[in-house]
Symmetry: C2
Subunit: 223 residues, 2 copies
Amino acid sequence: MQTLDDISEDEIEHDDLSIARALEEDIIFGRLAPGTRLTEDTLLARFHVTRHFARQAIVQLETMGIVVRERNKGATVRSLTPRQVQEIYDVRELLQRQAALWIPLPAPDELIAELTALHEEHGRNVEAGYLRGVHETNDKFHLTLFSACGNSHLVQSIELYMRLSLPVRANSMSSKESLRISHEHHRLMIEMLKGRDNWVLAQLCVDHLQPSKKRYLAYVSEN
Amino acid sequence: MQTLDDISEDEIEHDDLSIARALEEDIIFGRLAPGTRLTEDTLLARFHVTRHFARQAIVQLETMGIVVRERNKGATVRSLTPRQVQEIYDVRELLQRQAALWIPLPAPDELIAELTALHEEHGRNVEAGYLRGVHETNDKFHLTLFSACGNSHLVQSIELYMRLSLPVRANSMSSKESLRISHEHHRLMIEMLKGRDNWVLAQLCVDHLQPSKKRYLAYVSEN
DNA sequence: AGCCTCTAAATTATCGATAAAATGAGACGG
DNA sequence: CCGTCTCATTTTATCGATAATTTAGAGGCT
């Protein structure tokens, strides 16, 4: 497996937020396995920033929930037990279902157009095998969709739980087939937005979460 | 109104967490009005800590959601628009209702005993007019209750939203009558835990939130 | 008076250095 | 051979000082 030291990030100027984002990406692409230790010095060497920023980035990651810190012992990439995964997904389902139920239907053309654009970009990324783009457009699609519920706090919480489930979703990025299925789900969601049935939309949003959860739970149970 | 400088905190040793807690208390008791500016130097003088800790405490408060920071401009106590209050309470109701529904009924005697103890302490605090204690035992009561749902992540989110609604709940601390009503609600909840009807319990938990929300919204609408 | 500009004061952001704590390796005694 | 005690090394926590930014107000111009 690739270690943290093999990844170098010269030339780019980093602040604590961009470091956090870079590491977030490493986690979803499996370059950083859960449990990996994250020392300040390593970040310092990789990103060529002062200790201050490396430290701040770790704090960021901690509040984002993707890293765990122990006093005087530093940070490790959070690793999730099946139990925790189940808990996180139960809450995700709760939040996303309610957001879907609160979206006024039929949705305005403006929103449909925006989502369609994201959807097409997502499709192109899938076919091109450009995983970074897939992840980015996927998250943007869902956040845009759920924002239509009108409750920004709910959306924020949804975002939090999307990040918490990052390591779970990492698995599903590897197979183009599952990405295509996910893409198809998105198309259906857009169709539903044109209709009037919130319950169908909500169910779709919940079902959409199942594959990566099941895949992950199956994966850990056989190891 | 009392300003931040009037409050002094000698003798006690503070770290960033205890500072955050102290300020949290100031907010719920109305000593720190929403919108109040929070400069590092002020905290520094009040708590006799280094700049480092004062700063860290502010970051803490930011992630707890009770303070807003703007780059190069410092922090102010978060002030909530009626719209935001409504959003926060909608999510609170969603989370707490679901937690109540997930609690296995009837609850084990152990839990009943623990809650009863907290309930009695809460009652004593109310009658003694010891507001700090009221707030503390109140939050502890609810967190203990909701923990019984078995989903620690859900409980964490509930805790987050309890903090977000701190300025809203501040109002209700002032009248002993409303504290007594709240206390009575708690008693009913314990009764419900002995039964088998999750729906009644859930409804009770949701209703319990209404008074302080309504009071706050009424208050801001007439100003 | 109204308005722009420039300066000084206040405040936050960043840095490099030092202190404190944990970790691991090797020495020593049982 | 095993435990454990000490010390060197690694890593995080804390500090004080300096840099950068914003804010407010004085002074001058039209």
